[in-house]
Subunit: 359 residues, 2 copies
């Protein structure tokens, strides 16, 4: 068995701190190089994040991609740069862990996925919560027809309070950097959780709510949408940079109800809760509940971001050592999420017309 | 000071059991008579609910209304009968506590309210949760600009699993009895909670989601809608007879988030919780939360339905003893709720067109 997968970090974005730590914790991954247009920034990043002094500094992303010890790159760049740099990385045979949203739209993502496929390169987007063991435990609960039944209604909320500086200067409010705004950033999580809850069965229609809040440059700061399946299932989501930090996932089935209030980042690193109720009933007098929800506690040795890196690196190792083809499970999930995001965006742009979702 | 307000119960509906107990518990109310088209049913109701043997039995609603000891009536009849019997009661000077929804539509409610006003009769609808001290405590939290700020997003869910018998035979699925179905029954609570959260500032527009589930007779069994304010506030609700019992109220403000999972009927009779978070933040590493929500516990000596009866009876006593005019706070809340319900119904009937809300 080979050693850990050597990662190159492309740029010193704020989020890269978290992934740098995760790569350090993951047993099968290690940071070997940092690339930045400013070598001083890269050196500071290496020092600030406790990386060994032997970590290589590259003064350009091209140089990072030419480093033979870099087997995989982590791409935390603004969304508008993803296509260029992921395609460049894949072209050089580097596996890619890319921040979400992986692309500005599905057409762009398809170009990315095609190049990855041609080059036998693994790609995964950085949606961490799906790698927490709590998520697997939730799947067990939802899959049990006696406990949960069929999913009927999903509601997902991710909002946080952007500071005045964030709302003025963050890349996520700039049309040329992260033009999808709150929909691409916070909304990605909402859509991913809704698709997850519905076992990746795609809705038929997306309808954005009228009058999303946009900044002067037309970037969405807050929006809502509903998703509709042919069998009557409905989901709603709310994503916003303009309200108190909230991360709600509610999944209601014919026989059960699941609640999380921290679905994206668990309240605590080492364990996370699921609030789950089944066959809920009131008492005979209809004055209180006869049944109460249960709290399932799921512990984890590694934080979810390290589990994501571990899973990605495992797939890369299999390609490297056993000549496996890249796994297509994760990119398919990315693509489904992006397809729904596109439909919501199209509905926003059309003034809330229903938009058909075609995979 | 006079004695307790004498109540007549109009019909022996299932829900009347709960209110009968509540009238018994309320310190300023007492059941003096039960009216039913079947005197045997009324006698059984009196025995089953532990009412004194002196409780009068009336073989018709007319006779109940002619009983001089009946000062107020509780009307748990199907919605389609409300207008007729509330107007009859008010015409005889009886105060009225009427089950929700108080009417089939606003025009009908306005006829009811007019007759009550002309006859100086107090009317209140049976929305119990608003009378729980938890609701007042929630108002304190939401009113604090430092804790909650401005409301941005409200989500309310009330669904329960109707049994096969319920879905076939309950009055709430019959077009000629409770033609508003899940919208009138469960949806009333959702709308009332959304209006409450927004301090009764009415939304401008209601948009029903496409394809609500209806039974063969066209009665709504499950539906959703969004409500929109001119300043960008948004609310959604889901009401259904087809999913596991769930009673969620989520209110997100610029600085705080409030969660209840039992807003209509608290998990326990003697105390109820509020989950409230303010200025929520993640830790520096963005791997967990730096702040957690607080649980506020609100105890109550009387269950909320008895507090509702107490408040209603207090208003009736003031009219009786001090010659006060009927209080218009509660009927105004009823009317606002009914106006929004009408708009949602109109949107459903128009195939999800946005409907303007005019008070």
């Amino acid at each position: 068995m080979g050693g850990p997968i050597g990662f190159g970090i492309m740029g010193c974005a704020e989020i890269a701190r978290k992934l740098c730590r995760a790569i350090g914790i993951a047993p099968n991954a290690t940071v070997v190089a940092v690339g930045s247009r400013s070598p001083d920034k890269a050196r500071k990043f290496i020092a600030d994040n406790g990386l060994p002094a032997t970590t290589r500094v590259h003064g350009s992303y091209e140089a990072l991609l030419d480093d033979p010890d870099v087997e995989a790159v982590y791409v935390p760049l603004p969304t508008s740069l993803h296509a260029h740099w992921v395609i460049a990385a894949a072209g050089k045979g580097k596996h890619v862990l890319v921040e979400k949203p992986p692309a500005l739209n599905t057409a762009e993502l398809d170009r990315i996925l095609e190049v990855c496929q041609i080059n036998d390169v693994q790609i995964m987007d950085g949606t961490m919560w799906m790698h927490h063991p709590r998520t697997a435990k939730m799947r067990d609960l939802l899959s049990d027809p006696n406990l949960f039944g069929q999913v009927k209604r999903t509601n997902s909320i991710f909002c946080f309070n952007g500071s005045p500086d964030f709302l003025q200067n963050d890349i996520r409010v700039k049309p040329d950097l992260d033009g999808l705004g709150a929909l691409g950033d916070a909304g990605w999580y909402c859509i991913s959780s809704i698709l997850w809850a519905n076992d990746y069965d795609l809705p038929k229609t997306a309808i954005a709510f009228p009058n999303p809040v946009k900044n002067e440059a037309g970037v969405v700061l807050s929006c809502d949408a509903s998703l509709h399946w042919e069998d009557g299932r409905v989901a709603t989501f709310h994503c916003s940079f303009l309200a108190n930090l909230t991360m709600d996932l509610t999944i209601i089935g014919s026989k059960g109800t699941l609640h999380l209030n921290d679905f994206i980042i668990p309240f605590e690193e080492s364990s996370a809760n699921i609030t789950f109720a089944s066959d809920s009933l009131l008492n005979d007098a209809v004055t209180a509940w006869a049944t109460l929800s249960q709290k399932h506690v799921v512990s984890t040795d590694l934080p979810q971001e390290a589990l994501m890196v571990t899973e990605f690196s495992r797939l890369v190792s299999e390609i490297k050592e056993s000549g496996s083809k890249p796994d297509y499970k994760w990119p398919t999930i990315s693509r489904k999420t992006q397809v729904v995001l596109d439909a919501v965006k199209a509905s926003i742009d059309s003034g809330s017309k229903p938009v058909q979702i075609v995979f």
